[in-house]
Structures are given as structure tokens and as C-alpha cells.
Amino acid sequence: MNKRFLPIAALGLAAALGLTACSSGSGDGSGDGATNAEGQTLTVWIMEGTNPDSEAYFDEVGDAFTEKTGAKLDVEFVQWADAHDRFVTSIAGGTTPDVAETGTTWTAEFADAGALAPIGDYVDEAGLGDDLVEGLVTAGTYDDELYGMPWYAGVRSLVYRADIFEELGIEAPTTWDEIVAAGDKIKAAHPDMMPFAVPGDAEFGVYPWVWGAGGEVSTLEGDEWVSGMASPESQEGIGFYTGLATEHGFSSAGATTWKETDVLDNFAQGNIAMALMGSWTPAAIVEKNAEMEGKFAATPIPGKDGGIAPSVLGGSHLSMFETAENKDLAWAFIELMTTGEFAEKWGEQSGYFPGQTSLLDDAIASDDPLVQPFAQQMVEGGGTVPVTPTFGAVQAKKTTNTAMQAILSGQKTVEQALTDAAAEMDEIMNGN
């Protein structure tokens, strides 16, 4: 046929042969432990996009891993969007990897299904028990067993336009009243701007106000989950948050149906003065609009009368699957990734915080206005949504988002919307 294609075909064949060679070694793990695993291969799934330069990073990890254990590392990158489906189908077919990155809200779900191996003993043996970020440990614990090794995390805080605050002589708000005062000033001086974005389809922006007012999302009382979304405290918190839009006019009609990505886009375009955004967003904002560099800063989310309102830790665990034949080897990889040098490097490259407390302390000591406040939020005000597979069902049904949207669009009052949301939460979480 065409001669130009021959080298490409040959390359493809060589690559295919190389792959087979890689995978042929696995499966003869005889429990020798991690140090003498010559000829074995550890398969790992990592989510794509967290670290822009993950290929080079994992080349380095692979070399270190082979040096330490003798085994080869086979990393496959998976898209976040279809990761959950891929996990489910591979669980069904018994083809799960040995180790995988699992989003913090999935770990309990997969553990409940019996797909994950407990790692608590390994963590104790390594003496890491006290050095892991608490919110991530809570999210990785199911039925009093640790299934997810804290790897990295991010947290949402209050991001604001430092240039506009300076221009109007406003300090970063530390109470709810100060948020309103700052918003009024911005509204008067910059009528084109949205002083505070209140998105309707972003549930993790809602819970800080519930907790900041002293409310709860849902708590286990005996065997039963009881939602606190309709409590007077929660109503006050969500009433304040939605009131920023409905009473004070700080948000916009469009924001009623916004997701977090819409908040990010509009902030990058310079339309928003204050919003709750994640610790991983500053890099994205500057990437979308280079002019924003140096014009914004972050501060922990204020509680009602001061202090820090807890905010949900989002991030990933490294989980070991039951199908892993050499669990010692799998643990050796997990430990290599989540502690020390490689964990620190991952954090630097991805813009997330490591899951090891001793590494996080360095971030808190940083004087970067886009690192330190998030780190403080994470350590002093990190929260977790209820750790149960059924809360995933609540999220899938968008119970909280539905309430927010109904309030913002004026279809329901705060009380009515939250009473409905609490009832729905109880119904789903107690399995009826």
C-alpha cells in the first residue's frame, strides 16, 4: 500500500508488544511482600486533568517504584466524566485495577459494595494514623474501617476582587454583616458588577452557610439519618445566602441556574466581585484571563458573627481494590504516592493540598494570598458531607440544588423549600 504508513504500523505493533510484556508479569504475586516483587506489575487508574503534567510525574514515580519494589507500574489515565461508569463496569466484570484514585464521595460507595480492601492496618503499621488530614480520613472511613488513603484535597473559600476592595477601601469580610456592607458599597460603585454570586446549581457553596449558622446537613441518630436542613439555624444560613440574591440584589437572574463552572467563567471575565470558589480555581482564572493576575485574593468563609464557617473538603483517595493480588505491593505504591516527596510534588504541580498534615503545615506558613487562606480554611474549617453511600443518591437527585433554585426563582419560600429538602433527604438516606 503506502510506504509512509509502514513505520507507523510497526510502531503500533511494537507498542502493543510492549504492553503485553508489561502485563504478562502480573498475577504471580505469592505474598512475598512489597520488597521482592520482581516481574510483577501493579495496575493503577488515575484521573486525568488534575495535574497538567501527569505523564512526566508518573514516569518519575514509576522509576522510584521499580527501584523500591522491583515491580513495574502501569498507570492508566481515566476521565472524571466517565470514571464512575468505568468503575462500576469493571467491578461487575472483576477487572478492577489494583489501586485507583477514587473521588472522596465514591470511596464509601465502593466500600459498601465490597469492592475495596481495608487499609487501616497498613496505615497503623506505617505510623501514619495521626498525620492524615481529618476531613479526608472521615470521608474515607466506612463502617469504622479506613478504605481510602487521603491523597490530595481542595476546599472552597471566599474569593474576592482585591483590586476593587482596595479601591473602595473595604477589608476582607469576617462576618455576615460585613459581607452585606461590602456588597452594598460595590453595588453602588460598580453597578455593572455582581457583588456576590449565588449560584443555584452548586450544592457545595450551600453547606458552609448551614454550618456557619450552627446547622447540620444530616446526622446519624441511632440507626436513622435525620436531616437538619429545615432547622432554624439552617434556615437562617440559607436564608442569608439566598437573601444576598433575592433581598440585596447582589447576584443575577442567570445565576439561579448556574453551576460552579459558570461562576468560574464569570469571575474570570471580571463580572463578579465575591464568590465561593475552590482552592484549585485561581490558576484556572488566570489561565482564562491573564489580566486577572494579582487582582483577586481569598479569605476563609466567615461564620455568622465571625470565625470560620466549615467548607466541604473535595479531593481524592487512593484506594486498594479487593482484586489486588499482592496487597503489600499495592500499599507500597499508595505510601509512596501519599507521603513525603511525591505527595508534596503532586500538590505543587496540581494546585491541591496534600492529605498529610505535616505537609499541609508548609502551605499554612506560606504568605501567598491565594494559598494561605485556603490552607487555613482546610485545617480550621474543613467539613464533610454525611459519609454514607446514600448521600451520593441525595446528590444525584440534586436535593439541595433543587431547594436553592426554588428559593432563588421565587417558587418557594426558604422554609418551604428546606422542609421539602429535609424530607426528601430523610427518605433517600433511610432507604425508603
Binding site: 467491578i91 469492592a115 442567570g254 441556574t257 433543587t402
Partner: protein
Amino acid sequence: MSNTLQVPSAVQGAPAPRAAGGPARKSLLTRSRPWLLLAPALAVLAVLMLWPLVRVFLFSLQDYGLREIVSGEPNWIGIANYGEIFTSPELYTVVLPNTVGFAVLAVAGTVALGTAVAVLMASLGLFWRTVVGSAIMIAWAMPAVTGTYVWIWIFDADRGIFNETLEALGLIDEPVNWFTNRYTFYAIVLLNVIHHGFPFVAITILAGLLGVPKEMLEAAEMDGAGAWRRFWRIIVPNLKQVFAVVIILSTIWDFKVFAQVYLMPGGSGSNREALNLGVWSYVESFGQNRYGFGSAIAVLLTLVLLAITVVYVRTMLKEEEL
């Protein structure tokens, strides 16, 4: 169908020409030959399509979740999934009205616009027909996801051109979020789906139109029939089969519409009034790992679409006989 087993010997035994020619008494061979020829295709279809359908039906009788997938154990619960579907108040107040009402309007709109464009194209010369054809093909070729986002931008509350125009004309004082209201939400979906669906109808009907005998139309014109009358009295009866195909296919597509709703602001479940059958089943079943419940909805959707198709095909055939 025990006859099929004897077919091979019949093939060898019966003289083919006579069997094919006999009008009254059809031999075994004549009756079974079509099936014999179809057998390989049917076998493939049975494996590829029938077995998955059977599996979906079996899942629909179970409480089938992630735990069952891991253990591989069945978990029979009889018709409880179907019971839950039919006792869900949301089904009657929101999901069914949205799905059926939308499908009726969308099919009517798509077929009407498609036919109008087809008639226009039939009356054009070759050059302009190619130009119009290419233009509408672009609407057809656009992926549903891309098209949906374009409509979302047009109707965006804060920066959309629609709101800006209304404000400039003084029809509204401040931006309105069209996605939060059930009817405006579906009006936008309707625009999107009709815009995406009419080119197929137009091209299909154009092909039929070009096959309508010119003499018949000329004769009608000589007799004094106007364009309107010629359309209803000659073109429509001639294109009955084409319309049938187009309507059935559009009905099936518009019943199952998912991406165009799911991707709209609030359409993925946070605006409960905007749920349709596709999004509802996704949110209620797959989002919550309740694969049995999702299968039950899929079975019901298949049955409904099958019923619509059967009724429609039967009426068409009956009219033909008359």
C-alpha cells in the same frame, strides 16, 4: 414451529419451480423459504438485540444495585419496581405531561416545518436546491450537545441576545431567567429539537415529492386546483408512507429526548418541573445506582413506543385497504 426442523429435507425434495407456481396449495418449502433465508440475520439479531432486551426485563424484576453487580447474586423483588413507577406522583404531574406534551408538539412542529421546506426545495432550481439543502444539512450535522449550548447562550439570562433584544425594545425591565419556568424551558427545548430534527424530515419528504407524477399535478392545475388544494389532495395522499415513516421515527426520537434537556440550565434535576421521562429515569435510577428501577422504566418506554408504532402502522394499512 416444529416444521422448521423438516425444512432441509423439503428443500432437497420439492421441485422448486412448481412449488413457486402453485397458487392455491403452498408447499412447505414455499412457506418456509423466506424464513430460511432470514435465519442467519434473525440469529444475529436475537443475540445482539433480543438477549439484551431479555436481560433488561430480568433486571427490571430485581432490586439491582452496585452490591448485586459485585456479588453477582440476583435479588428478585417481583413487580415492585413497576409498582413504584406507577405510584410515583411525579410521574403523573410532571414527567408524563412533559414527555407526551413535548413529543406531540415537537413531532407536529418538525413534520410541518420539514414539509414546508421540502415543498420549497421542490419548487427551486437545481442550484438553489443545493444551496438550501446544504444549509439545512448543517443544522442536521451539528451534534446535539453543541446545538444545545448555542440555544443556551441565546437565551442566557444575563448576556443572551434574546434578553438583550427584549430589554432594548422595552418589553422587559430586568433580565428574566427563562430556564426556571417549565413552559419557557420547554419552549427552548422545542426550538432546539425542531431545529435539529426538521432537515431529516425535509430531505426525506423532498425525495418523495420528486416522485409524485408531474402529470397528475398539471392535470389538477388545469382543473383549477390551487396550490393549497393540490398539496392536500394530491401530494399528501401520495406521500402517505413517507409521512408514516417520518412521524414514527420523530415520535420515537422526541419521546426519548435526553441530552437537549439534561444539558439545559436546571435540566439535570435541580428544576423538578422540567423533568421528562429520560432525565427522570436517569436521575432516579442510574444516578442512584438503582439499575433495576432504571430497567423497569426502560421496559415501559419500549412498550409505549411499540404501542404507538403499532397503532399508527395499523391505521395506515387500514386506510390503504379501503
